[in-house]
Symmetry: C2
Subunit: 637 residues, 2 copies
């Protein structure tokens, strides 16, 4: 990818004066593909963004269309300027509904940014084009997608989602449906009416705050493609806001469908503003973190008023979903105290501490309906947090975990009474044989509200490889019906993920989500697998790289053994060489089978094979004759 | 790990004269652990090798014993000299049975090493202490473990396996059994009689050729711990035999239970001799590869005689199991020709080519009983190859694949008539919803003979990450009942794995196998998870590293963020710091819950928390105050 420099004016003291500072975020198309915008007709002036992967002209196959959350950053024609923010594609959709009013944005206070001085010096520069006026539902109005859906209204957001989920397919399913969906009802073709119905039933959500009009609508629900979330957080050294914005841009480039900003410490407010204004995907937060900062990190000092003020602050900025740990109730805390690893959720432990310190019921639980009133005035979705999720195999599926889940079910139905969108957060650490029970119970007690899980990790013994221990559980629970999978990076439990860790985490979760879509029998999922396997069988190496989730790594691995350009068109690979290439022999077998009733003089591909051999010897020399080294390492045969 | 130099005398021309060449293999204990030898009484002069991981004195817990296939290489007290080979621990066991005789080893021919000159110049040096006399069953005798088992005999090999599978546990299961085993019958405690019975029924195998007395007996079966295999292959530049031997040593260091030598090209014979003489784990091969080399790589020129000669050659060297593709029958070839990716098994494609070229039934199928006669004279186990396994999601569970499986079932029962041990190779590329069917059919048609699968890969779209796409399928099929999982490295489909790739592949498969043991409810599996989680909760960082499958990587990841020595004892980590540490808060909660009925003045751990803060600030400075960067990246909360 190329680095396009996005200009922004920043003075060293963070105030707004023209400066020379050049900062950039990651832009440019993913190799071998192009950003496209599809749709029968523009949906209220906007077409649906996708990515098209081009194949070698030698094959007649059409380009492969894939779901693409990366936004304009991968569009070569887009001009990116993070100080301007992204175009507000939903601006008119929101206003035309006539149920919102403009209000003056709550003034930023020093504590919002971690006690910086009034001039916010030494912190992150305020976003240059911050809105003075923000939107809110008119008194008595409810602007949630669920409210519209239940009123029979198909919104442009729903139309956008329908087109997007179809991956540009024609009306009919190209594929014989094949899969086990465990009761999910994935249609051959997604219609806007289907989306409306799923939202109305609470079986899917479209998280999009009316103050985040830059977002491209997406759905989270078991009858849609499985989605993934990536987490980012602010840096103590935050003078370069582009670094913060780029964490989001980098995550969505590789496939993150939503991003959670889990920042703490200083500059929370300003950093979040920069991220939201530049994000084409929904942004989630855990408001209790910022509230805790406002009381100096002392859980006992948290109050409903401070928390409420934080919700308004973030609602006006445009946060699309809030993690709320309202299920951590006073009576459950002793249950968690019996555990191997107690409470591993930060939000959960903060609330548990508060409950015990005051020996009172959680103010989140007590004020749940007040929170709901705020959610519906901005169309913010609940992500009901699992503060008591198990942090070890030993604690999986225990009393504390399920006690909380039942409460989350109760709260789900309470939120639905006000037509507010809800998803439910899930574990955690769970051995394979206990994963299904989590899904079954969640569907039952939460009325099929979308499940959003962290992994789960299927064993505790592989720190350093927890993207894999959890990727196994994620693929399985995604298959069983989980709508969104929160990624885990290789640094889980050990340290802070760097840029490479984030990419590995996102790609691992994309492949897990895709494996789930295949197993559920999503009608369009196998198109990409088939295109890649066909390319592999036909030795179209570049197509194989470009069709993979991470073309850069695929080509790099290939080139470590066969750097020669010729090797990318050779009819064999480094694992076996032409003499042993099973795919090559198998093509000959296929041809032979075709000819076997004719008078065939053996294998037609002989000269070709010899040519391959000659080329092979050439590559040998180029690669220091290491070519056969460990060739068997390819497979057990 | 340290590199101990093993001396070997090699002249540049490869003949045996004293020389100064110093070559080494990877030796030394895995950090935080020690090689131990256990057993109530020495089993016929030999105790069972295991690894013991030591915990910090601050906890009273006993060291954790883990299964360990790494052999003497991780024993600080062992003297390693690869020119001598390993001690022959089974030598007397084999001879005392009185059913073997010594025969003169078949003379090595130029073609055995790929047409090297008689002096083998330019090739690998012959193993210095190669045996002139080798063992074979006396005429009419059968030396297979299955034969003894069916005769009611408990061999030392079976006793060794029983002790090994119990991981040094006391008679009773420490754990409440918990898991779903899908019909497997894992006992609370493994007795030698149980092992005998499993071998007799063909539900488990102990691959150990009588000419490989260096091997430590191990069992492959669904009622034992799930095992993993790693593949190695020879190098075109093979003058350094230590490099070849070290591929095996490196694989077993990280947990490979068996190793397959898939070498082709030159030096096959001599390289294999070096590997077997130094291997404490069973070695498997695909004899058709060497046979193909002997006919210059022209599949059509293969004959039964050449193949038979190759079997004898390898049997006398001590290969423990042979992959035989006897299930690729002439009538099945057209079925494979219809596929998306045809035949992806090299052995399978070679046989398919042979069958079509001659339009005759496979000589492997025709001569199956002749092969069986050879197997039983050396106790070599069959690994019946799945030459028609699917190479893409599109081809999974198709007619060709299952046609072959049924034939493998037929052959299994034929081999069992002669008391020869058998395991069955399985796919391949299979979406999650089709994995179970593979296991169910295999158990049914192959009479519960051990299943040995490659992954399966659950999607085709992630080249560069196929250790993960396959690790998902491996964990699942291991749970369903697969006895051994063949690893896949990140380079699968793209290039040749290097040392790091092999380690990543082995560790990924170890964690998948362990996740399967947990889900099956193996009575000892959770001990390690619990020990690690307890260490995590108690902030015993070093114990957490040492208990992980890859202590080096775990510590390295931790130190990237918190290099300070103090951070390894700090009661918090880089993800949250002390103020936000959920584990710390949760410990306080636990204490508070204990005290809540007493007259408690808030949290007892306040000073400790303040101390932690102070230490934290110190670490801050040491790490350039980057500590909070992306802290949220840890989890979705």
């Amino acid at each position: 990818m190329a680095d396009v420099d996005s200009k922004i004016d920043l003075a060293s003291d963070g105030s707004q004066r023209p400066a020379r500072t050049e900062i950039g975020v990651t832009t440019g198309p993913i190799r071998g593909s192009k950003k496209i915008y599809v749709g029968p007709t523009p949906i209220h002036g906007c077409r649906v963004a996708m990515r098209e992967i081009y194949l070698d002209p030698s094959c007649d196959d059409a380009p492969v269309r894939v779901y693409d959350p990366s936004g304009p950053y991968t569009d070569s024609d887009a001009h990116i300027d993070i100080s301007m923010g992204l175009p507000e594609i939903r601006k008119d959709w929101i206003r035309e509904r006539g149920d919102v009013e403009e209000v003056t944005q709550r003034e930023v206070r020093p504590e919002d940014n971690g006690q910086l001085g009034p001039d916010r010096s030494g912190g992150v520069a305020p976003f240059p084009n911050v809105r003075k006026q923000v939107l809110r539902a008119k008194p008595g109005m409810n602007v949630s997608q669920m409210h519209y859906a239940r009123g029979g209204i198909i919104t442009p957001e729903m139309e956008y989602v329908a087109e997007r989920e179809n991956l540009g397919r024609a009306r009919l399913a190209e594929y014989k449906r094949d899969g086990e969906s465990f009761g999910a009802e994935i249609p051959d073709y997604v219609t806007p009416e289907f989306v409306r119905d799923e939202i109305a039933r609470g079986r899917a959500i479209i998280p999009n705050n009316i103050n985040h009009p830059e977002s491209e609508p997406m759905a989270i629900g078991r009858n849609f493609l499985v989605k993934i979330n990536a987490n980012i957080g602010n840096s103590a050294v935050a003078s370069d806001v582009a670094t913060e914005v780029d964490k989001m841009v980098w995550s969505i480039r590789w496939g993150a469908d939503t991003v959670m900003d889990l920042s703490t410490g200083r500059n929370i407010h300003d950093t979040r503003e920069w991220i939201i204004r530049n994000s084409p995907v929904p942004i989630g937060t855990v408001p209790i973190y910022q509230a805790l900062e406002k009381v100096g990190g002392v859980a006992e000092d948290l109050t409903w008023e401070i928390f409420r003020d934080t919700l308004i602050e973030q609602a006006e900025q445009g946060v699309d979903y809030f993690t709320i740990h309202a299920g951590v109730r006073l009576p459950y805390v002793p249950l968690a105290a019996k555990r191997m690893t107690g409470i591993v959720s930060r939000g959960g432990s903060i609330m548990a501490k508060w409950c015990l310190a005051h020996h009172k019921e959680s103010f989140l639980y007590e004020h749940f309906d007040d929170i709901t009133e705020i959610m519906k005035a901005y169309d913010i979705a609940y992500s009901l947090g699992d503060g008591l999720r198990p942090g070890s195999i030993a604690d999986a599926n225990d009393e504390a975990q399920f006690a909380e889940l039942y409460t989350l079910g109760e709260l789900t139905h309470r939120a639905w009474k006000s037509d507010v969108q809800v998803m439910i957060e899930g574990p955690g650490h769970v051995p394979m044989h206990k994963i299904k029970e989590n899904m079954t119970k969640q569907l039952e007690v939460c009325g099929e509200a979308p499940f959003y899980t962290l992994g789960p990790l299927t064993t505790d013994i592989a720190p350093g490889y927890d993207h894999i221990t959890s990727g196994i559980g994620a693929a399985m629970i995604g298959w069983y019906g989980t709508a969104m999978l929160c990624y885990v990076t290789p640094k889980e439990h050990l340290g802070l993920p760097d840029r490479d860790d984030v990419k590995v985490g996102v790609v691992t979760y994309k492949l897990a989500a895709h494996a789930a879509d295949l197993a559920k029998g999503h009608p369009a999922a196998q198109v990409r697998d088939d295109a890649l396997s066909k390319a592999r069988f036909e030795f179209r190496w570049r197509d194989q790289f470009n069709l993979s989730l991470d073309p850069d790594t695929a080509e790099q691995y290939h080139d470590q053994t066969l750097p020669a350009e010729g090797a990318k068109t050779a009819h064999f690979c480094s694992m076996c060489g032409p003499k042993f290439c099973s795919m090559k022999i198998s093509q000959e077998v296929r041809e032979f089978a075709r000819l076997q009733n004719q008078d065939s003089a053996g294998f037609i591909a002989t000269e070709e094979a010899e040519a391959g051999m000659a080329e092979m010897s050439k590559v040998y020399d180029e690669t220091g004759r290491e070519l056969y080294m460990g060739q068997g390492d390819r497979e057990h045969d």
